[in-house]
Structure formats: C-alpha cells, structure tokens
C-alpha cells in the first residue's frame, strides 16, 4: 500500500498541471498512469529537416511508413489518421485495454505517458467570457491559471493582432512562429482588406501555439525542421512528459510517479476522510492499492467516466457527452501557385482565424490554417480522383500551394449525445457512445461552413472539397460530469469535486459544461491548475 496526500490519475495535459499546482503548494502527490511509451521510432529519426531526411536517410521508410506499414492507411479518412507511426503508441494500449464502443462516434483515447497531448497540434486558445457561457467561472477566475500554464508550456503568438479581442491577454507570450510561404501570402491578403473582413466577422492572426519560438523553460528554440508530426528533438512543441520530468527534478521528496499502472476503481472511507485507489500493474497483473486524502481524476473524459462508473456502480447511467464537430477544407492558394516555398517551416497550424457569424460573439468559430507537406504526397494522391500516376504529376506541382483549413464547431449538451457504462467481464466496465446531433445544429454548421468557404475564396484560396471525418474526430471531448453551482450526483462543484463523493475531484474535460469552437486543451491545463490549487487548499 502506498500512502499519499493526493493521488492523481493521468499524466496527460490535465493531470500534470493539477499535480504541479499541488506540488508547488507543498503537497505530496502520487501520480498514476498506464504510461505507454514509444521506444521504437523516436531513436530512428535523425535531427534533420524534412527535405534533408527525404533526400538522404535510407531508413526513412521505417518512420514515415511504419515497420508494419501502419502509416499507409487505406479506407476512408478516419479519426486517428493524423497520427503518424511514431505517434501511434498514443492509442495502442487504450485500443486494447480500454476500448470505447460506438457505431457512429469514433473516440480516440490514450493510455500513454502524456496522454493525447503526446501528439497534439499545440493550438492554445484561451476562452473568453463569451466562450464560458454555462461555466460557473469567468475569464477573470481562469486568468492567473492561464498565465501560470503559459509560463510553463511557452505559448507563442501575437498578443496585439486582430485576434486579441477574442483571446484576452496572456502574460509572457513568446514571439509568433515564423510563417510559411502560404500563410504569409494569405495574411498579407487579409491585411489589405482587414476592415472589410472584420465587418463580415472574419479576423485572422498568428497561430497561438504551445511552441517555443525562443528558448523557454529549457526547451527550444524551434529549428523549423517541419518534422513536428514525427519527432520532438528540440522539444519546441509542449508535451506533458516534459512537465513530469520537471516535477521529478524539482520535487524528489514530494512526488511519486507510478507508470505502468492501470487504475480500476476507487472507494472512499468517509469516516476516515480517505480514498483508496485500486490499480493493476499492467506488466505483471499484480494488484496495487494507493491510499490518499484526495483523489484527482484526470484520465481523459472517457477514462474518468470509466473509473467513476466502475467505482460508483453506475451501470447503464447516461452521461452527457460533448465533442466539437469538425470539418476541414483542402484548398489551393492561388497566391502561391508556381512560386517556390521556403523549406524551413513548422508543421503546426500557421494562421488562426476567428469567425463571429452573427456579431454577438456567442457562436464564435476558430478555423486553423495548415500547409501540407510533411505528411507525404501519397496521402493526397489517395484522396484524388485521378489515376495514381496522373495525381502524382498534378499534385507535385500544386502541393506547395495546398492549404487545409480545419473548422471546429461549438457543441452543447443534448439528450441524443451521451456515453453509457456497461458492466463487462470481472470488474471492468465497457463504455458505449451514442451520438445523434440535432438537425438544427447541423444546419447551423452548414451555414457557417458556407461562409468559411466564401472567406477562403476571398483570401485567394479555392476550396476543392469539404472533408467531414465524422463524429469524434475533433478529439475534443468534454461534458460528462459538468461543473455547476448546484446539481445532482453526476455533476461537479466549480472546484471540481464530484458531488457523488467527498474527496474525488475531476480535473479534465469531464467538467466542461459546454464546448466553444476553440481547442480546449489550454483551458484544460489552466482549469487543472485551478482544481489542483483548490484541492491543496482543501487539505489545510
């Protein structure tokens, strides 16, 4: 039995920032994680830029295609297709040990060290008060936590561009990332007519990324190798495991890390005011028990739902589920056709847009613009409607002017969208997702997308299609145990306490009652820092 003041389940973006707040407040923390890692591909990738690797590395097929060709997907575009072979460890163990069943909804879950953010795109957009409708929190409540998290992870961007009113201030922003040739031309075009665009509700600025453009917290600076989907040599893109390493260094006497442990359930001893976590060591199957005064669940929305349902016997109970609907538009940037493009670039989002469709700021959209190169040509060829050889010829000439605009839509709870736990073999619990969005929400999305297409055209980009990878594909999950001022057993207090319990707090997306159309992860981290602080205070 291992004693702790606070047990945290999850080493993802949420868990590590909750743990850091607790450790900085002087608490003793045991952090439990299943902890899958990639020891296979990372050592194979030399620290060189994309073009040099392509032209010189005879071993490149191993990481670009995968030793089992797992990087050559056939069939329709699906959730997870964006994970390159070196990133596929993120979901491997979860697919085996913690699957989520659903006909229509493709859930991506992780049992890896660092969770899903071991492969995230690093877009870090703070929520403003308009985004926080339905939360029992304001931006002012989150502000110190955004600032603290930004100082830890390093967020780059332009604090004064057209996006500022939709982001609010964040302290210590790093200089914006270098723009690639596509993005630079589109931004130039936008700036020429920025007032007209603003009147139409479109605002374009530099991407806000957890990306060290200068040396920061021992990471970076970015070398613009365009290998961000494959390797992490200079650690420019933030990954939660860097926080774990830092916590191990800074708090050797307060912090215990238990990797390779699968948490199964918890039980409370209300009289003693303690909580016990039951885990299994994955490698040996041995049972491990951890006792603490507080438990923080940051196992990701599905992982946390599974743990709560298994512990409280919530077999068959419906829990609301949120996930931003996602569409992306491949487009040709006419400003760049025929022009050579710079080699040095990053692979993350280049430009951030905000669209305020009705001028009320209540239904903001936040499309992100990417260029296409480092995912290799064959994936584009596969989607084209020309023969393979013809496609290679045409796409080679167009690929430097090819952009992708990813559009997230907001999501709100609805009885047709829920996850339900079912008792499976032994004490394990299976999760089933049901996803029936409303017709009116889908109509609104189509209307918004039609406007986005028009904006693309006005920015000199010809959309050549719209790809909807389907429900679940944004990988932004939330809403199962919403935080609110007053609510039932399956809700949380604003501090993250699960009302069905006395000592179990939730620090991941489970508590978000609404999902604005912005990536949620920066806010997940800020909120986890807030919950960690509240738990530390509750122990005084």
């Amino acid at each position: 039995m291992i004693p702790a003041e606070v047990i945290v389940v999850g080493s993802g973006a949420s868990g590590v920032h909750a743990a850091q707040a607790l450790l900085e407040a002087g608490r003793r923390v045991v952090l439990v994680d299943a902890g899958e890692k990639d020891a296979h591909y990372a050592p194979l990738i030399p620290a060189k830029d994309f073009l040099t690797l392509r032209r010189t590395d005879p071993g490149q097929h191993r990481y670009f295609l995968g030793d089992d060709f797992e990087g050559v997907p056939f069939g329709p575009v699906r959730v997870g297709a964006q994970l390159t072979p070196p990133r596929q460890f993120i979901t491997r163990l979860a697919d085996r040990l913690a699957p989520v069943l659903s006909g229509e909804f493709a859930a991506m879950t992780s049992l890896a060290l660092g969770g899903l953010a071991a492969g995230w795109g690093a877009a870090s957009l703070p929520f403003i008060d308009d985004d926080l409708q339905g939360f029992p929190l304001s931006r002012a409540d989150l502000q110190p936590h955004y600032d603290r998290v930004a100082a830890r992870i390093g967020v780059c961007g332009d604090a004064h561009d057209a996006l500022a009113p939709f982001m609010g201030p964040v302290n210590g922003m790093l200089p914006p990332a270098r723009l690639d040739s596509n993005a630079a031309s589109i931004l130039k075009r936008y700036r020429r007519r920025s007032e007209a665009f603003a009147r139409a509700g479109l605002h374009v600025g530099r991407a806000r990324l957890a990306f060290c453009t200068v040396r920061h917290a021992g990471r970076g600076p970015a070398r613009y190798h365009d290998m961000d989907f494959w390797s992490d040599h200079e650690r420019a893109v933030y990954r939660p495991r860097y926080t774990i390493e830092e916590l191990q260094r800074r708090f050797p006497d307060q912090f215990v890390l238990m990797m390779g442990c699968l948490a199964g359930s918890f039980e409370e001893d209300e009289r003693a005011g303690t909580v016990r976590l039951h885990c299994t060591e994955i490698a040996t199957g041995e049972r491990v028990v951890i006792d603490g005064q507080r438990l923080i669940l940051a196992a990701g929305v599905f992982g946390t739902a599974r743990l709560v349902a298994a512990s409280l016997g919530w077999d068959g109970r419906r829990l609301p589920l949120l996930c931003n609907p996602y569409t992306y538009f491949p487009a040709l940037n006419f400003n760049r056709i025929g022009a050579p493009a710079a080699n040095r670039r990053h692979s993350l989002s280049q430009l951030q847009m905000i669209h305020d469709p009705d001028g009320t700021r209540r239904h903001l959209l936040s499309p992100q613009l990417y260029s296409y190169r480092s995912l290799l040509l064959f994936k584009l060829v596969k989607e084209a409607f020309l023969g393979v050889r013809d496609s290679i010829g045409v796409l080679r000439e167009l690929s430097e002017s090819f952009v992708i605009l990813g559009v997230h839509h907001e999501d709100r709870p609805h009885p047709g969208k829920y996850v339900v736990a079912r008792k499976a073999s032994g004490d394990s619990v299976a999760l089933e997702v049901h996803w029936q969005p409303t017709a009116s929400a889908e109509r609104a999305q189509q209307r918004h997308e039609a406007r986005i297409r028009r904006f693309l055209l006005q920015l000199g980009c010809l959309p050549v299609g719209a790809v909807r990878p389907g429900p679940g594909s944004s990988i932004h999950y939330a809403g199962t145990f919403p935080m609110c001022e007053r609510g039932g057993a399956a809700t949380c207090t604003p501090e993250g306490l699960l009302r069905a319990t006395k000592s179990v707090f939730l620090a991941d997306g489970s508590t978000f009652p609404h999902l604005p159309a912005k990536g949620l992860t920066f806010t997940l981290m800020a909120n986890a820092d807030r919950v960690g602080g509240a738990v530390a205070r509750s122990l005084r």
């Binding site: 056939f74 056709i337 025929g338 290799l376 064959f378 080679r396």
Partner: protein, 134 residues
Amino acid sequence: MSANDREFALLARYLIGSVPPARFRARYESGCRALFGDPAAHSAALRLALRRPALLPLLDAGCALRRREDPLRQRLLLLTAILEASPEYADVFLPRTLTWPKLLLALPLRGVFAAAKALAGAVLLLAVREGAGP
C-alpha cells in the same frame, strides 16, 4: 520471373519509369502482406494490366473513378508510398514549382488527358468483371 516480380516491375516502371533495386521489391512484398494479407493480388484489373501493360494507364485512371478500393489502385498507392519514402526516389515526389505560363498550359492539358483517360478506363472496367479469369 515470378508473378510477383512481374507485378512489381510493371507497377514500378509505370510510376517512375524504371525498376528499382531488389530491396524495394522485398519492401513492397512485406507491405502487401501487412496491408492486404496476401502478396498475390486478386483483381481482374491487375491481371489484365499484367497481360496488357499498355492498358495500365487506363485501368489506373478508371479505378480512381469507379473502383477506389481495387487491389490495382491499392498496390499502386502502396508502391508510391514506398518509393516516396526513399532517398533514391524522393525527388520524384517532392514539390516542383512551375512558372505560371507553364502551369496555365500544362495543367489544363494534363487535366483534359487525365479526364479522358479516366472515362476510357471507366468504360474498360465495365468490361473487366471481377472473377473473370486471366
């Protein structure tokens, strides 16, 4: 030359104009095994292409329109991926920039040819029924 050797040589010559060294063939074969479970193709279109290599451009274009999951197309895509991820052939797949005038002339021409090929290929595929013997 075995059937698989002939298939590899045919597809490679079609894609890049030459037959790559043996290690690429081994990679292609393990790719077929990993992705399709079977190194030998079961596709009437592929069998026809092996018998009549001159028809391959039409069959490739036709599959892109009408039989996107056909083993012929899948094998071409796999070989594209393998060749692309190698220093020897990377340049065949890396972006190429053309001047506007060249683009204005070359692209529409290529588009018209490709569309014509796709139509002819689609018609040809109507005649090539699955299960038809070699």
